[in-house]
Symmetry: C2
């Protein structure tokens, strides 16, 4: 049996990268391994950039969504509560920087490893590594912003559909 | 009749973002408007991040591929030759930084506007803006690297499939 991921606690999530409710999406699954948030994902040829090399934009998408999930999970963890508890938080990306170090093979699983650098109010800063076959192929710096907090008024919040 | 885009001169391009030969891709089309490389693209619901908001990773993909096309076109232009001439160049991303300023609507066309900051050898630096309905929703800084040059030996080049 597959263990629960951060994304299992995001009902109604239509996101292309991490939404369980998007039939056409990438459907990433993120989990804690100690202090590191980990995501394993298998490319498909339609997501290549060059023949048998994963598209850099798809890599950015994976990293982005994985880091938003990690920021979310870290916020709940900091409040010592489960992902199925209230208030409900959701994060959106402030800034995403990806450095592409080597081509990422398009026919083998990638592993994303994200770490929390700082949590300060509604802003969380993370780093993320992308590994493929034991090779570090990209690194990223990500700023996540809490844009949904169910304990706060959401009127006019553009992120709530 | 639709005028030619940079991507019309990339035969065999399977890229998810810009490949005409990827049936499942985003199929961006980029062109010059004076000194600015412009791309107009219409979102689909499957590429949303939140309900009716374009996914940030897809935005990164659009920006990335558009800027690679712009770097390519600028290199040919600097050599005063057409995109259908040799040597053939191709660019890959070195670094991509996207700052998300406002939510980007998921139901209206986006316009990407990229400018060349510097061309130095095989490295091209660009900036890119993402506009939607007259609103600037994201800005980006991109470093593009020439990884294919048909006048050079390509043996062992991981980017050539």
């Amino acid at each position: 049996m597959k263990s629960a991921s951060f994304q299992d606690y995001m009902p109604g999530n239509v996101c292309f990268g991490c939404g369980q409710d998007n039939p056409d999406g990438l459907h990433i699954h993120s989990r804690w391994e100690g202090e590191v948030a980990v995501c394993n994902w298998m490319p498909e040829p339609k997501y290549w950039g060059w023949v048998n090399i994963l598209n850099g934009g798809i890599m950015a998408t994976l990293i982005d969504c994985h880091c938003m999930g990690a920021a979310l999970a870290a916020a709940y963890r900091a409040e010592n509560r489960g992902l199925d508890t209230e208030p409900v938080y959701r994060y959106a990306t402030g800034t995403l920087t990806v450095k592409y170090l080597k081509p990422t093979p398009g026919d083998q699983e990638v592993e994303l490893r994200a770490s929390i650098i700082e949590q300060k109010g509604r802003k969380t800063t993370l780093t993320c590594e992308c590994w493929s076959g034991g090779v570090l192929t990209a690194t990223a710096d990500v700023v996540a912003l809490r844009v949904v907090d169910s304990s706060q008024a959401v009127e006019g919040n553009p992120f709530v559909g």
